[in-house]
Symmetry: C2
Subunit: 331 residues, 2 copies
Amino acid sequence: MIDVARLAGVSGQTVSRVSNGFPGVTEETRARVLEAMTELGYRPNSAARAMRRGEFRTIGVVTFTLSTTGNVHTLDAIARSAAQEGYAVTLLPVAVPTQDEVRGAFSRLGELAVDAIIAIMEVHLLDASSLVPPPNVRIVVADSHAGDRYSVVDTDQVGGARTAVDHLLALGHRTVWHVAGPEESFAAQGREGAWRATLEAAGREVPTALRGDWTAESGYRAGLLLAEQPDCTAVFAANDQMALGVMRALHEKGRSIPGDVSVIGFDDIPDASSFFPPLTTIHQDFDQVGQLLVESALRQIRTGSGEQGTTLVPTHLVVRESTGAPSAGRC
Amino acid sequence: MIDVARLAGVSGQTVSRVSNGFPGVTEETRARVLEAMTELGYRPNSAARAMRRGEFRTIGVVTFTLSTTGNVHTLDAIARSAAQEGYAVTLLPVAVPTQDEVRGAFSRLGELAVDAIIAIMEVHLLDASSLVPPPNVRIVVADSHAGDRYSVVDTDQVGGARTAVDHLLALGHRTVWHVAGPEESFAAQGREGAWRATLEAAGREVPTALRGDWTAESGYRAGLLLAEQPDCTAVFAANDQMALGVMRALHEKGRSIPGDVSVIGFDDIPDASSFFPPLTTIHQDFDQVGQLLVESALRQIRTGSGEQGTTLVPTHLVVRESTGAPSAGRC
DNA sequence: CCACTCAATGTTTACGTAAACATAACACGA
DNA sequence: TCGTGTTATGTTTACGTAAACATTGAGTGG
């Protein structure tokens, strides 16, 4: 900076003013400084800058894994929103979702250069007692409850699941089977609970829920079981990947989709429209979730105070070819 | 730090020594300092630390999008490898893959707190003249050529594609059709070139390559065309997602897989084993790619000098149910 | 014409850390 | 007993920036 100042014949402070776009600098001086900057290839040192400003202009994102499609889309949206606001995004992968690991990640984050943390994970894993958010680091949570302690942004799991079940019932199915996500997942709980509640509200029989782990493979295993159920004409899979597995199992067992069995998913991943048959599913607006997460984080950073409460992002039904009315002959 | 020092009755320098795990501190003193740290909730300020050390312990990753599955897995692997080495990963999404955008991203990275950059993209987009890597920032590139200018780590696209084609020829197919990735992609070029070369080497006819854009939807469109070709018994799709689309089209047109047409993909994404039928594909070792990328970056940071050359990560064939011998009657 | 205001720019300082150097205390062999 | 080396710890300093305050000079109203 001093070199630039010398070359432009000004003081370091003026360089700083130009570099930050502050007012109070003649157009002529500004031009001279900018020229000197380019000539010397000057780039502000972000470490010194962060130290002086007391903030890093960076948001940390904690995730377990990027293998579930939903998390990836959320992350992508976060990164884009943050970039737009001039914030960088630092990734902090947590290998195993044990409390110890999470705690370790958080303490590492404490040393890291972040002003806020967005956690895409289950809050119960960061049990309040063990989680000591570093001072001056704000927290936002996705895919969880605990809106009473943190600012939470999430897809409207309940509404989405209800829409899915309603869609199938409206088509004339007597009831709807469910392939649920892992028990630990709040999203999975929400979808399963809403599935059950919707069936009960409609006075339908509630079949036993099958449990998967979000992977297509687990959906396949569930699908093999479902194929054994002659009275199963409609399946609601808690995500698209498991729906993919379910459909594979049904195909292999000779059940036609949607002739014999209708299948609906959740997420609307890009590939869903190319499944065979194209999957009817509940579309999640990951972009908006990401954007809201970043907005909440920035608001907390700027006001310097925490936030509570849950913001729900609505979903909508995307009807494709994997659902239809139950065939007359069966069931 | 001073507060901690005062509480522990030592100097700031001793606190620094403890904080960095340096030798030359009595066990007793160390314990006293650690206790003071916990009591005061002390966390080293990474900005000051980075400034003093002149390095950020952070690697920046530039990507266009996280929507292609391959990039995501690479990113995931990078994040994990980096974390293991005590390095953080900062994401820098580039909205549109134009040169201007990329240049902008790089200049932003210049101001950012990174010691090295890993670019998951096509190098030709960061045309040498416009790309001015900030001094002291090392570059590693994935998914590209230009090993003469940068350190490049990539999957062995050529070897993988050859394996794919050989597999189909060995099953008895007369030739193999190809659904290529986008022209700009080096990976797509490599796979297409190897496909052509392998067919030529075997003295087979080389059909016109169909071009997709990595998405399942584009694979579907290509698949519709392939279904019109009565002599098409084997298809090599440049990635699994396009293979998914191809298979959907074939199903819809009543062609059986692998009875009428064999389909092979590339990537081995987690869902591939749950496609219908489970997809034979070329497995990429994303973990190793990520690890090698990080290793190269760290080596360059530590030695302070650039690196050139390309490192190839081998692939292997995963045979599932989407490929088989051509049926006697057809073709 | 002078006191005053305001805009442009310069000077000083502090942010939290760790390297480099300085000091103190102690052990050991001659 | 006294150097001499070694280990533990303290002191000083600089890293690059931007806030706070200081200075300069030009324009304005009385």
